[in-house]
Symmetry: C2
Subunit: 627 residues, 2 copies
């Protein structure tokens, strides 16, 4: 199949064969078939990164001056060429060596691998500048900008003003050999003596109400290098978001105190990851931050007062870029801190990160994301548009407000099963140690089993006849004893009517939120093709039990995925790829926020969701858990 005007290019190691017009630029051809090739200079023959090996160099246009300057004679003889300088004249085969391929990092989102091209907001470039002389009196800044343009084809438009102050000393001490860090292809944020181009780090921060998590990443290859975490130091002013908002609302001083606590917490996490990885904090040039809207405001020192009262409006919802020094974050002082946008008062930047990592904004399949926590964020939609809401699911799933509740610490009952005949209890504790209490996933199992064994009715009330000594009466109220002290527990571990009610309130809130969103989208649970359950706690819950008690909509189990800290994954993706941080604003514009408090149907939905659903319990025959 030879044609005068067309040539066939075979691209290895991909085995791609494609036709091009004779004389086509090789770099353009590689891009046309969807390959990502390094090309820092944008195809101008300057950076020398788009190296390819030709099977037969004679099928390609003549070697150019640029190539002779950037490739050794040995390399040229071996068939090495720069793709941007080569035109394909006859059919041939090109091999793309590893080093010329743009770096793709695979993200493990609980079993789903997401390939993310490494293209962070910052890049580092080593340059040697010409010394000033009477015949070359350009300013220090101009000299640096010109060199970056000449060597790498970079069109930088500005230099951080504070940096320009220290520039003369740096350049002269470094004998005019320096490494510049460029942010957003437009601003030089740092200049260091010598070649430090390999030391380019960034950190993704997820400010949770309870924990601050930090992910240190190598911004050259996207590697995750170290993870740090710390209990959110704001906790001394209240466990939940509302009490922190009300503390910060007391005045300028309280707000500043909360901001300081948050920043100090982040600085501790930065020190942790730097220590683990022996990375110098000054080599961290980019920080990407998510958190719920209250955390977002407190971190930035923005008054969150109005988040706490109807109509719960945030002050800022757009993405924000601030210099690290302006926030007293102890990384490189000129590092950019990029805070992802928030959606509404109670749907924050973390929800944006959930959407990024689950990819629902670009899927044609209708998807539901639940990020379960004290507040549960729910997003329903696909690439055409999304609706989102937040519901106050309370801290029951974290073991709070539950008689024997505990966090998922060692000894917490995390899974359990009540035998239908004997009412004996099988359970598993965290770390397989002596049971000390019950955590969120355990309490869901417990309530579901009480229901399945018909010890409680659809209203959650203990039935009259309970043919087991495990149901007993204490202080005039009945309760179910999961483990007696004599059975080896540190105390009698029970489920009380109050516990059941707490779970009912929590699950009703989530279910009603899902229902309202489904109504807005006019869809049924069976239309939902993918459901993502996020949140630290999510991973351990038994899906059938969660559906049995009516906590989750009745989406087919095979369509449900636990995605753990999806917000953490999303913020890491936004850190190593600008594409995602840029997408965040676009994503936000595709989301319609639904304020449940003003929805006329919410109260009805919530009240009816307080009941356990009227399910055919025989549909759950293999109810057993494999211990």
């Amino acid at each position: 199949m030879s044609h005068n005007k067309f040539v066939t290019l075979t691209i290895e190691p991909y085995g791609i064969k494609s036709e091009f017009e004779k004389g086509a630029c090789l770099l353009d051809a590689l891009k046309a078939v969807g390959l990502k090739i390094r090309s820092e200079c944008g195809g101008r023959g300057i950076c020398g990164k788009c190296r390819v090996i030709l099977k037969d160099s004679s099928k390609i246009s003549e070697v150019t001056k640029s190539e002779r300057e950037r490739l050794s004679k040995f390399e040229l003889d071996s068939g090495l060429r720069l793709a941007c300088c080569s035109s394909v004249m006859q059919s041939t085969t090109a091999f793309i060596p590893e080093e010329s391929r743009a770096i793709i990092r695979k993200f493990l989102i609980e079993g789903t691998e997401k390939p993310v091209t490494v293209e962070p907001a910052i890049r580092k470039f080593y340059v040697k500048l010409g010394k000033p002389s009477l015949s070359d009196v350009r300013s220090d800044v101009q000299r640096l900008l010109d060199s970056l343009k000449d060597v790498y084809g970079l069109e930088i438009i500005r230099v951080d003003y504070q940096l320009s102050k220290s520039l003369p000393e740096i350049l002269r001490k470094a004998k005019w050999k320096v490494t510049a860090t460029i942010w957003d292809d437009s601003e030089i944020i740092s200049v260091e003596p010598g070649d430090t181009s390999k030391k380019a780090y960034g950190i993704a921060i997820d400010i949770g109400t309870s924990k601050i998590l930090g992910y240190l990443s190598n911004l050259i290859n996207g590697d995750l290098i170290a993870v740090g975490s710390l209990e959110n130091p704001q906790i001394i002013h209240g466990e939940d978001v509302i009490s922190r908002i009300s503390f910060a609302s007391q005045g300028e001083g309280s707000l500043r105190r909360m901001q300081k606590l948050t920043v100090e917490g982040i600085n501790v996490v930065v020190r942790q990851v730097c220590k683990k990885s022996r990375c110098a904090p000054r080599h961290i040039y980019e920080m990407t931050v998510v958190g719920n809207t209250a955390m977002h405001h407190l971190f930035l020192g923005i008054q969150p007062k109005y988040l706490g009262t109807s109509p719960y409006v945030p002050v800022v919802s757009d993405a924000i870029d601030v210099k690290a020094k302006e926030l007293s974050i102890r990384v490189n002082p000129s590092a950019n801190v990029h805070v992802l946008p928030v959606i509404a008062g109670f749907v924050g930047a973390d929800a944006i990160a959930d959407i990024i990592s689950t990819g629902i904004y670009k899927s044609s399949q209708l998807s539901l994301v639940l990020d379960i926590g004290t507040n549960t964020e729910i997003i329903l939609g696909d690439k055409r548009g999304m609706v989102a809401c937040s519901c106050a699911s309370g801290p029951a799933f974290e073991g709070a407000h539950i008689a024997c509740g505990t966090k998922a610490v060692s000894g917490a009952i995390e899974r359990l099963q009540i035998e239908p005949e004997s009412f004996e209890v099988k359970y598993q504790t965290v770390g397989n140690t002596k049971p000390v209490g019950i955590c969120g996933s355990g309490i869901i199992d417990g309530v579901a089993n009480l229901l399945r064994c018909q010890l409680i009715d659809r209203k959650g009330i203990f039935v009259e006849q309970t043919p087991t000594p495990r149901v007993r009466t204490r202080n005039g109220e009945r309760e179910f004893v999961l483990v007696f002290q004599k059975e080896g527990a540190t105390r009698d571990i029970v489920i009380t009517p109050k516990d059941i009610e707490q779970i009912q309130l929590a699950k009703a809130a989530i279910y009603a939120g899902c229902s309202i969103l489904m109504k807005k989208k006019r869809v049924q649970p069976e239309n939902i093709k993918r459901m993502f359950v996020a949140g630290a706690f999510g991973n351990y819950i038994n899906l059938d039990n969660a559906k049995l008690i009516g906590m989750l909509p009745d989406v087919s189990t095979k369509n449900i995925r636990f995605v753990g800290n999806a917000a953490g994954a999303g913020v890491r993706m936004a850190l190593i790829s600008r594409r995602y941080s840029r997408k965040a604003s676009l994503i936000r514009s595709k989301i319609r926020y639904v304020e449940l408090a003003s929805d006329p149907d919410f109260q009805t939905e919530f009240t009816s969701a307080m009941f356990f659903p009227n399910k055919d319990l025989r549909r759950f025959p293999s109810f057993r858990i494999d211990f």
Copy 2:
């Protein structure tokens, strides 16, 4: 001349008649004939500023919904329409009322009026926002941005982060009625309660080595409201630029001290002009700054050390924008401080301002600008390109290093003439008071007259035979007595050989600089169509005398203009019109800097310029000055 497809529009009060296609948009038509019409919304029928009065409204398209919302019934009945909403259907006459015309401010550059359209970098807009509710939960920032877009068609992209912190309180206290200040059409820098849209001020600052000048301007109509000035407080660390550079070079502390002195000086000038005009400093939202390169660096806290040693390179040469608070300038803290670009180590932002105000960058006539001071900046060129240099002309023209020299204070001899026969001296002093000394313009006259009367030769040496008792010998050297104490002076006022030498050095430096630039451009003095002499001192010099002693190239006197503080005029133009501040970078790129120190011809030119030129003194017959 009626044609089906064309209509004639007569535009009053300009008396312009022009043909347009039938159905042409009236606003476009007005723009097409070169009129500047207000149109904040860009012709979208939103701002209601492009009001015109039609002689016969029936010749225009139907009244639109936008017009009905923005014009009263009375106004519509009177023929008032919005130009952007009107299509011209039949020939008619439109009258442009005063309030619809873009404001043009005339700049008086010493007799030359320069019209400058008032279009500052900041604009203020009053808006009423809708209150948040459960059905409208947009963030405070979004709400403000949306309102500015809806009412004025503004597409703002960001809000100063620090400002967003105080936004919630401002909006709520102001009951959602606020005035926003927009910088560069892209950033909200201030939000104030109520309607303060009329209070929009800016200040232009000219940091001279000896004086700091400030020009407070109303940014709505471009009016100059108050002028302030202060001796540059840096003076305690040296009179000239070099000694200040060397003080600042001693270390970080000295540099910071110099910056602080400069900023404090500017703050004093700000207080002066605010007091004079009763303007609140917080209503100053823009500051435009020029100065020579050393002043530029010291003001910004940039180390000027390398300006002081060969090859004299600046650290930064591009324009810089910094927030006022970052520099501790006491105007609105979020005000933008715009520092114009510099050309080279000894050709600063003030030279850029000279070029702006003289307009040589856009003239097709070859022009020469001399900004005379301790350093004299020289620019030669036209719109196709310019060359610039700086020469060390020394402080002689300011009366320094001259035996009886003084600044142009009361009693300083500023003009004088020596009678050729009698050698009697006629003179004029500043303020017509008793002579106390001689200032720059006087000493030029003196030397020129000594030469003309042949009391000194071309080398500047007193001739053997001097038939007048005014030439006497003191301490072994001859000198000329301008005024004996007995003639009414406070002392004998003399011109010494050292004085003559000082003037020779100064004028030779200027002349050699001009010669080198003319060589670079391959032009002769007669090719120079316009010569601008700037600098405080320039205004008073006698041109014929200056040419006689060879200080200025022999450009025809009718082509020479004194333009006084041209840099001050230029920085004011850049303040009032962004067009000029933007042009500054373009201007800079059109200038080729010539380093005299490295020019092989400079030393020869300089040495030969030390001699007084061999002019036919009869060419200067009417040498008399009218006192």
